[in-house]
């Protein structure tokens, strides 16, 4: 197995609001290897974006707080490093692409100015050279008429073009890790396919690791090497992409996959997971999925299931796969 690039250990993030403490992330463990594309799936509000932002310490404080845990990037804990060092990591070593390409560019500057600025600052080059680099990057993301695009304002570009500009901009700094927070959600399907192809091509070519966040399982299946499934602030299953789609183990993952319509489907109605996503202020005790789970058993509403290995690189946090001694283990209670 390749070298580990990012190692998140027991990360908990809480938001302190007037309604109460929102436990957005509870003891999340996740690793990303060099050159790997890791997908992170989950429903809206399950904490995917919070996880992404925590890595770069971009959680607004207040109300958010990284409660405990460690995030090792190349062996260095990003949560305790100095602000100065962190600023260097941001952009140079870890870049991030956001959900809405509409508002990721500053509306009052031309695209060229913004790109050049980033390139000049991170690579310490003169403006003429930076311009060349920008044009080259725009060519690589298959932007038609790159020179023309440089002189345009963001509002003159379409969503897909803006997202490609963002990809070009973030990759121009040659990061080791790219965090893509639902980069294609706001785009229509054909543009989405283009952007994804470009993203995959460029990151594979350069050996950039990607944390790809999405709620679209189709996209994940196509793009990623490994997948982590999140539910209500916890990671419930991690597996290589093939294993996850052919043999999901966690009842939640199984439910998710059953809810996808297929061309050869003979069902009249799609199956749904009963119930709604729990609020994170007072989440269910034990396994957070148990109120909606079909396979619920005794221990589920009391004990938090440990993550266990059920196949090569396939881990799942569910009592179905924990052996009985662990179910009664008082240490894992919350």
């Amino acid at each position: 197995m390749a070298e580990t690039l990012l190692d998140i250990k027991e990360l908990s993030v809480r938001f302190f609001t007037y309604q109460g403490v929102v436990r957005a992330l509870e003891k999340v463990d996740l690793t990303i290897s060099k050159g790997e594309i890791l997908g992170l799936v989950g429903e809206t509000g399950c904490g995917k974006s919070v996880l992404a932002r925590s890595i770069l310490r971009l959680i607004a404080d207040p109300p958010g707080k990284i409660w405990n845990g460690e995030i090792f990037f190349k062996g260095e804990d990003l949560l305790t490093t100095s602000n100065r060092r962190l600023r260097h990591v941001r952009g140079n070593e870890i870049s991030m692409i956001f959900q809405e390409p509409m508002s990721s560019l500053n509306p009052v500057f031309r695209v060229g100015n913004q790109m050049q600025e980033v390139v000049m600052l991170h690579q310490r080059v003169e403006s003429a050279e930076a311009r060349e680099i920008c044009i080259d990057m725009l060519n690589q993301v298959k932007m038609p008429d790159p020179e023309g695009v440089l002189t345009k304002y963001p509002h003159e570009l379409s969503g897909g073009m803006r997202q490609r500009v963002m990809i070009a901009m973030e990759l121009s700094c040659r990061p080791d890790l790219l965090i893509a927070d639902e980069p294609t959600t706001a785009l229509d399907v054909t543009v989405q396919a283009q952007v994804l192809t470009i993203l995959e091509e460029l990151t594979r070519q350069r050996g950039v690791s990607v944390l790809f966040i999405s709620h679209d399982l189709g996209v994940i299946a196509q793009l990623c090497d490994r997948v982590a499934v999140m539910y209500a602030g916890r990671i419930v299953e991690v597996a290589p992409v093939r294993n996850l789609f052919s043999g999901p183990r966690h009842p939640y993952t199984q439910g998710l996959l059953k809810a996808i319509p297929r061309v050869d489907d003979e069902r009249d109605t799609l199956s749904v997971i009963a119930g709604v996503v729990p609020g994170l202020i007072r989440p269910p005790e034990g396994c957070r999925f148990h109120p909606r789970c079909d396979a619920v058993m005794n221990a589920c509403d009391r004990v938090v299931p440990r993550r266990v290995e059920v196949g090569l690189g396939h881990q799942v946090a569910c009592h179905l796969y924990n052996d009985s001694s662990e179910k009664c283990d008082a240490d894992t209670r919350h």
């Binding site: 770069l56 971009l58 600023r87 260097h88 990591v89 941001r90 952009g91 140079n92 870049s95 991030m96 956001f98 959900q99 809405e100 508002s103 990721s104 560019l105 500053n106 509306p107 009052v108 500057f109 600025e117 980033v118 600052l121 991170h122 002189t151 304002y153 509002h155 963002m166 901009m169 973030e170 700094c173 965090i179």
Partner: protein, 291 residues
């Protein structure tokens, strides 16, 4: 050579022409623009187009009524009022521009820092600004100008000080809105520090409002500066400042109406001009609504 420059700056030229075209389609903008352009023209060319030396005394012609020789009449020392008013435009506009440059620059930075940093920094900075705002601007400017000593430069500093909170307040409000935008998060994610974000993202996004507020406040600034001169805390005689001229001329209002009237009219017209222009610029300079 010329061609290459022309090509390189092609869009800037296009952009400028476009702005001019938008400007010309808006009647009040044209009115305001014409007034201000005339004032600027008078101010710049005063030494060449003024018919007389503004401080040359000619006692034989003192207090003569408007005529072909002296279109606006003369004052108690026989100085030509038209020439003095023209030179006065130089002083008033210079005061206006300097005050706004100082107040706008400082105010924008202060407001953006307060808005972006938030928390305690915001609290402390804005409470100080509130204290300044709680004084009537003219009274505070008077007190400051008096304390600093009555001359033109001190008057400029005093008026600028009074104007800072107006800019700071507005920019803070804008900064609060701008800092929630995703490009700020994106900038932070690519390693930008607070100061960089304030200077490169927050302030430029507040620019159109700052320009509009500047134009609107230029009128008020000129008025306050003239008022300071009127009570003797600004420009000193024999400087042909409008406020100072009215101050001396008010004694003659009953019998020689032209003496205080013409400087007064110039103040009126200039202030109105800036106000109209400011309003019109709001519609034109915002890149998001201009097309």
């Amino acid at each position: 050579m010329l061609n290459s420059i022309k090509k390189e700056h092609e869009w800037q030229i296009r952009e400028f022409l476009f702005t001019l075209r938008l400007l010309s389609k808006n009647p009040s903008a044209v009115a305001g623009f014409v007034i201000i352009a005339t004032m600027v023209f008078i101010a710049v060319t005063a030494p060449y187009i003024a018919p007389y030396d503004p401080i040359k005394i000619s006692l034989r012609e003192r207090l003569s009524a408007p005529s072909i020789v002296h279109i606006f009449g003369t004052d108690e020392m026989g100085r030509d009022i038209l020439s003095r008013v023209m030179h006065g435009a130089r002083i008033s506009l210079r005061i206006g521009v300097l005050v706004i440059a100082i107040a706008g620059g400082l105010g924008a930075v202060i407001g953006a820092v307060a808005g972006y940093l938030g928390k305690q920094a915001d609290n402390i900075i804005m409470r100080v600004m509130d204290v300044i705002l709680s004084f009537p601007p003219l009274v505070l400017a008077m007190a400051l100008a008096a304390a600093l000593g009555p001359n033109l430069n001190n008057a400029i500093l005093a008026v600028a000080f009074v104007m800072i909170p107006k800019f700071a307040r507005m920019v803070r409000g804008e900064a609060l809105a701008v800092k929630e935008k995703q490009f700020i998060a994106a900038a932070r994610a690519s390693g930008a520090g607070s100061m960089w974000i304030i200077l490169h993202h927050i302030i430029p996004n507040c620019f159109s409002s700052v320009i509009i507020l500047s134009t609107l406040l230029l009128g008020e600034t000129i008025l306050i500066a003239a008022s300071l001169s009127f009570i003797g805390l600004g420009a000193q005689p024999p400087t042909p400042e409008w406020g100072a001229m009215i101050s001396v001329g008010r004694k003659f209002l009953m019998d020689q109406w032209w003496y205080p009237t013409f400087p007064g009219l110039f103040i009126l017209v200039t202030v109105i001009g800036f106000n109209i222009l400011g309003d019109a610029l709001r519609d034109i300079l915002d890149p998001r609504i201009r097309r």
